[in-house]
């Protein structure tokens, strides 16, 4: 499946511990340095897609000050997909860095 940046960041946010909707929004914001600000409608679109693929699942429900919180956790399949995607991105980053170094070295020579 095609992993978009919001999906990637949501999966990454859930690596540590189960989070509820607002917790995921905060964590994605922190992980992206404020660059990706998930709107609530977009967040639930992403969660629906990830849940349909079996990459995240419901962990538990809580009521806090009369409001419903549903916590989501990463599944083993989700961890596998995230690991593969991270490796793919790291490979691209390594290639780009190596080419930039070569370009700089060529420019200096």
């Amino acid at each position: 499946m095609n992993i978009t940046e919001p999906m990637f960041l949501t999966l990454t946010a859930l690596v540590g511990e189960p989070l509820h909707g607002y917790g995921i929004v905060q964590e994605v914001d922190r992980l992206s340095g404020g660059r990706v600000s998930l709107k609530i409608g977009s967040l639930y679109g992403v969660l629906d897609r990830l849940a349909a693929e079996g990459l995240v699942e419901l962990d538990r429900e809580e009521a806090v000050q009369g409001r419903l919180r549903r916590y989501y956790r990463l599944t083993d399949a989700g961890a596998g997909v995230l690991e593969a995607e991270a490796a793919r991105l790291a490979e691209h980053a390594r290639t780009a860095t190596a080419r930039l170094r070569a370009r700089t070295a060529g420019g200096l020579a």
Binding site: T4, G21, K39, I40, G41, Y44, G45, R67, R70
Partner: protein
């Protein structure tokens, strides 16, 4: 309940009821945690970006995204069929028109030497638009949804703009209306081919065959008609859009709910375009030229009705 929460709950009404029943409280909770309690005196409203995200989620859900029931998945398939059939039709028409222009240009003293700059500009817009119509269908049939969206979007803008540029100022609204026939299938393409939509891959040769076969058949039909004396009935009933809808109706009769609903939408669009032509009677009671058009509109109306009713009846039940 605060004013902000009430207003956000109103926005959530855009979502399908079945989805809201499961998600509303959770979404309100996340939203209110994010924005905090704002006094009603400040007249707070959800930001446009939040409203847009709910609207986008609602559109995707209603067109079969994960989280929606099988009924919405069937509607999504119907709208995708409108996009596929609409793009195929425009591609066939594009090929026919490009061939006609090629023949026209091969003749000496062709009319392209127009001294009017707007005529040259609109001719170029049509040529590029028709070519892009072919590209859009072939890209969609090969799984290149992004390419198809770009090509179809540009084609749509060019053809509507060309209609406006060359339009008779007295009948500009009519020409724009005809040009807008291109728009609904392109909107269907953008809406129903969302990230979660199943791919539509015909394979290169099947796609080319699907494009070329009706083009050749239509050319042969036109050659045969040229051998016959002119008849308004024949020319009305061999209109390519009407022929395509009738063929689509016959093919969809015993198929899924989505196929029938897709045909109902396409026939409805064509009916909308044909109807105004009936509203311009000659005033001469002896002139019965309106009868073939009226009969065709009647048939299209019947197709809309039969396809829509049987399609809705065949839809999967609403999720509890």
């Amino acid at each position: 309940m605060s004013l902000l929460e009430r207003r956000y709950r109103s926005v959530l009404r855009l979502l399908p009821a079945s989805y809201r029943a499961v998600r509303e409280e959770e979404m309100v909770s996340a939203f209110m945690e994010f924005y905090g309690e704002v006094p009603d005196e400040e007249n707070p409203r959800p930001r446009w970006s939040e409203v847009a995200s709910v609207l986008a989620l609602s559109t995707r859900l209603r067109l079969g995204a994960p989280g929606a029931g099988p009924r919405f998945a069937a509607w999504g398939a119907a709208v995708r069929l409108v996009a596929q059939a609409g793009l195929l039709f425009e591609a066939v028409m594009g090929l026919l028109r490009l061939a006609r222009e090629a023949i026209f240009l091969s003749r000496p003293h062709h009319g392209f030497d127009s001294p009017f700059i707007e005529m040259r500009a609109s001719w170029a817009m049509y040529m590029i638009g028709w070519s892009l119509a072919v590209v859009a269908f072939l890209a969609l049939a090969s799984g290149g949804v992004r390419t198809a969206k770009v090509a179809a979007g540009v084609e749509c803008v060019l053809v509507v703009a060309a209609e406006v540029v060359t339009g008779d100022p007295d009948h500009l609204a009519w020409r724009v209306y005809i040009g807008l026939l291109n728009v609904p299938p392109v909107l269907a393409l953008f809406a129903a081919y969302h990230r979660d939509a199943p791919a539509f891959r015909l394979g290169r040769w099947r796609a080319v065959g699907l494009l070329v076969a009706p083009t050749v058949l239509y050319v042969l039909l036109q050659f045969s008609l040229d051998l016959l004396p002119y008849s308004l009935w024949l020319s009305t009933w061999t209109d390519p859009a009407a022929l395509a809808v009738c063929v689509g109706f016959c093919l969809a009769l015993r198929r899924s709910a989505s196929a029938r609903l897709g045909v109902a939408i396409l026939a409805g669009l064509l009916l909308l375009v044909q109807l105004p032509s009936l509203m311009n009677p000659s005033g001469d009671p002896e002139n019965l030229a309106w009868i073939p058009g009226a009969a065709q509109c009647g048939l299209l109306g019947a197709i809309v009705l039969v396809s829509a009713v049987s399609g809705v009846r065949a839809l999967p039940a609403v999720s509890p």
